[in-house]
């Protein structure tokens, strides 16, 4: 090979390399967008919300709107979907439509489309979860967090009659169950920290929010603290359950799926969990009847913690934003989709005039009745730890609440120490 030929070859090789690199750079982005009005849609999967569930749901919308071409993206884990959305935003790949992702942070940074009153006219609670006075997430469904599901067979065996309404009645029931050799409460944790803090969420929501619905807003304004007596009392009540042996501290490493299975296997009598558990309760195998009651309050007053939201958010910078908004609304308002969400995930659709299908299971029906009654009596409050708007925890604090709950259960810290820890973490998160 002469030097001239070699030089030409090298130049050609360099040109090829650079062209390949440039083309590779240009090809970043979702595949399969196809023609029409292409959008990307970030979903997440759980034992209830399977790939088939999402595919069918998307197809129902695109059958009605064939001009919309949807590329489905799936978050690597259900619990980490918001963190994943942040990664996508940072890398310039923010999806056009996202479901079940907390809008906090994204909204303030101007990354989300603010839904207009006309968009929200069909929703039951159009003013749920305001962020700086605007609404970024479709208030598509309500979840009560946590009602207490219970094993009727174990209740009967322990001589517990009736469903506890007051805190003392709950303690009395727990004592009887423990005396009968049954673990009163089923909790979990491990990689799914929320399963550790469900009872704490119930106590704070009913005790604190029952009287002061804006407690967390006040915390954001630094007008109250976790070390204030009313919050410490809530922490003490929770820690006391563990001290009395009503909670098995060895279960704080059990993940959500295993925790659910433990209750279905009869390894504990009461399971405080979001109402999405109703879908599993009605569909999975168990050899006992499951009942459900509202989280008891100190004096028996009706207070039901719930979170309304969970719906779709749309990127403010979506290339086909009109298609993204059309898709999101069509998805959330489609009757068949709503029915499927009820059956698959036990959701309470917050759509005006919606009635769940008649063939839902008994556990769902019982939970839905409890919620409807709370709505009628104006007894619904925010579910502590689950809020996502201006009245919610600061980013990153939910994990700290879960860790604090585990420290109380294992006895590693007392209520005062946990409260101090939470205030310190809040300062760091601010």
């Amino acid at each position: 090979m002469t030097s001239v030929t070699r030089r030409k070859f090298l130049r050609g090789a360099a040109a090829t390399l650079l062209t390949t690199a440039a083309l590779a750079g240009c090809s970043v982005g979702p595949s399969g967008s196809g023609g029409g009005e292409a959008i990307t849609f970030l979903t997440f999967e759980t034992p209830n919300l399977t790939p088939a569930y999402w595919d069918a749901a998307i197809k129902r919308v695109t059958d009605k709107h064939p001009e919309i071409k949807v590329t489905k993206l799936v978050a690597p884990s259900a619990d980490g979907r918001t963190a994943y959305a942040k990664q996508l935003l940072q890398s310039g790949q923010f999806p056009d439509v996202l479901v079940g992702v907390s809008p906090a942070g994204f909204a303030e940074a101007g990354e989300l489309y603010a839904w207009q009153p006309d968009d929200l006219k069909d929703f039951q609670f159009p003013t749920a979860n305001p962020i700086q006075g605007k609404y970024f997430q479709l208030p598509a469904n309500t979840q009560t967090i946590p009602p207490i599901y219970y094993n009727k067979k174990l209740f009967q065996a322990a001589g517990v009659t009736g469903e506890p309404k007051t805190w003392d009645e709950l303690l009395a029931a727990a004592e009887k169950l423990k005396a009968a050799g049954t673990t009163p409460f089923v909790i979990g944790g491990g990689k799914d920290g929320f399963a550790s803090s469900m009872i704490l969420a119930g106590i704070v929501s009913t005790d604190l929010y029952g009287d002061r619905k804006d407690w967390l807003s006040k915390r954001r304004e630094d007008k109250v603290k976790f070390t204030d007596p009313e919050f410490v009392v809530a922490l003490e009540k929770f820690g006391n359950l563990a001290e009395r042996g009503y909670i098995d501290k060895n279960n704080v490493s059990r993940d959500y799926a295993a925790t659910e299975q433990a209750f279905l296997d009869g390894q504990g009598a009461m399971y405080p969990m979001g109402n999405w558990f109703a879908a599993s309760a009605d569909s999975k195998q168990h050899d006992f009847e499951i009942g459900v009651f509202n989280f008891p309050t100190q004096d028996g007053k009706l207070v039901v913690p719930a979170y309304t939201g969970g719906g779709m958010i749309v990127s403010a910078n979506a290339k086909n934003q009109s298609a993204a908004r059309k898709f999101a609304l069509a998805f959330q308002l489609d009757k068949e989709q709503l029915d499927q969400s009820v059956k698959a995930d036990g959701l309470f659709p917050a759509i005006k005039g919606y009635q769940p299908p008649a063939d839902t299971g008994p556990v769902f029906k019982a939970g839905y009745e409890l919620y409807q009654k709370a709505v009628q009596e104006n007894a619904v409050v925010n579910a502590f730890r689950w809020e996502t708007a201006d009245d919610g925890l600061l980013p990153g604090m939910a994990d700290k609440i879960d860790a604090a709950a585990q420290d109380l259960v294992t006895g590693r810290k007392n209520a005062a120490e946990v409260a101090t820890y939470l205030d310190a973490e809040w300062t760091k998160a601010s």
């Binding site: 090298l10 963190a83 990689k191 279960n251 490493s253 059990r254 295993a258 990153g396 585990q406």
Partner: protein, 324 residues
């Protein structure tokens, strides 16, 4: 071998006798052209590697250092320069200091246990035969499994009512440990899981090292009356020094970066920070808490600590290595 020295422009090279070279201007141009060609050729071949390294290693590190000196929070623009504030806050942050302690303990266990275990297994398997070949594969299998898969399997095995505790109860242990939910046990359980997976890697490296120990030296030592222990101490162990260096450095770096096992097995708990490593805190602070600047400072400190620890380990271990 010839060397080429470029002279300042306008000066012609002198011949060994001090006289002017016979090079004419066209000849000099040809030589310069040849040097340029050669540099261009090197450049073209080196460019992909250099660019890749610059894009994926140098740039992220430089960016991390930059972010660590700011209050970067993607949801709270604008980004503001804060100097060393993040570092000052870090060294006073109990959460970071706990993570540093957790990471150090985890790293020590993950460096020592697989090294010792791997060496023992390698000595046992340093023989010929199908059985030994099969056993080498058995010990190496965990290495090729995903850390997430390993974590999920061990989470089930170590459950308080899982197979391990059921077996212990069957053996008469009334109250077996809560391996993952007891704050006093969880870190050691996670470290054991990582060690279990890494033993196979150490076995392979030590086996390779053992293959390089000359048989003559062993035989000579035996003829001199050295027993197996003495032969190991005087002959085998010094010659395994390079293998020890590789294993120690690889384990040290990978253990210090541990994130995936923690995320899947304990999520940093039970409780606040009992198993949270620095890498785990970096991601939690940066992605969940949105404090990218603070998280970057943690990452930079982690890089410095790993760099220094690796350099010290290399210095010490290389000093032990012998050339045959």
């Amino acid at each position: 071998m010839t060397t080429h020295t470029e002279l300042p422009a306008g000066r012609a090279p002198t011949a060994p006798g001090g006289g002017r070279t016979t090079g004419t201007p066209p000849a000099r141009r040809r030589r310069r052209g040849a040097i340029r060609d050669r540099l261009a050729h090197f450049g073209i071949f080196a460019a992909p590697g250099v660019l890749t390294y610059a894009c994926f290693v140098v740039a992220p590190i430089v960016l991390s250092v930059y972010y660590s000196l700011t209050n970067a929070n993607p949801f709270r623009p604008p980004r503001r320069w804060v100097g060393l504030d993040n570092y000052t806050a870090l060294v006073q942050d109990p959460e970071f200091l706990t993570a540093l302690r957790v990471t150090t303990i985890l790293t020590l266990i993950v460096v020592i246990v697989p090294n010792v275990g791997g060496l023992l297994v390698a000595l046992l398997l340093d023989k010929r035969g199908r059985f030994y070949n099969a056993m080498r594969s058995v010990f190496f299998t965990p290495v090729i499994l995903s850390s997430v898969v390993v974590s999920v399997i061990w989470t089930r095995l170590l459950d308080v009512d899982g197979p391990l505790n059921r077996a212990l109860r069957a053996l008469g242990v009334d109250d077996p440990p809560a391996w993952l939910s007891d704050p006093d046990f969880a870190l050691y359980s996670v470290a054991s899981i990582i060690s279990w997976q890494m033993i196979g890697f150490c076995v392979v490296v030590y086996l390779a090292g053992l293959q390089g120990v000359p048989v003559e030296l062993q035989e000579a030592a035996a003829l001199d009356g050295a027993g197996p222990v003495r032969r190991f101490r005087a002959v085998t162990w010094p010659l395994l020094a390079p293998a020890l260096t590789i294993n120690t450095v690889v384990l040290l770096i990978s253990a210090f970066k541990t994130y995936d096992y923690i995320k899947v097995i304990t999520n940093g708990g039970p409780g606040a920070g009992t198993t949270a490593t620095i890498a785990f805190n970096v991601l939690q602070t940066g992605l969940d808490g949105n404090h990218v600047g603070y998280a970057s400072a943690m990452a930079v400190l982690m890089l410095v600590i790993v760099g220094v620890a690796t350099a010290v380990a290399l210095k010490i271990l290389r000093g032990r290595e012998v050339d045959l």
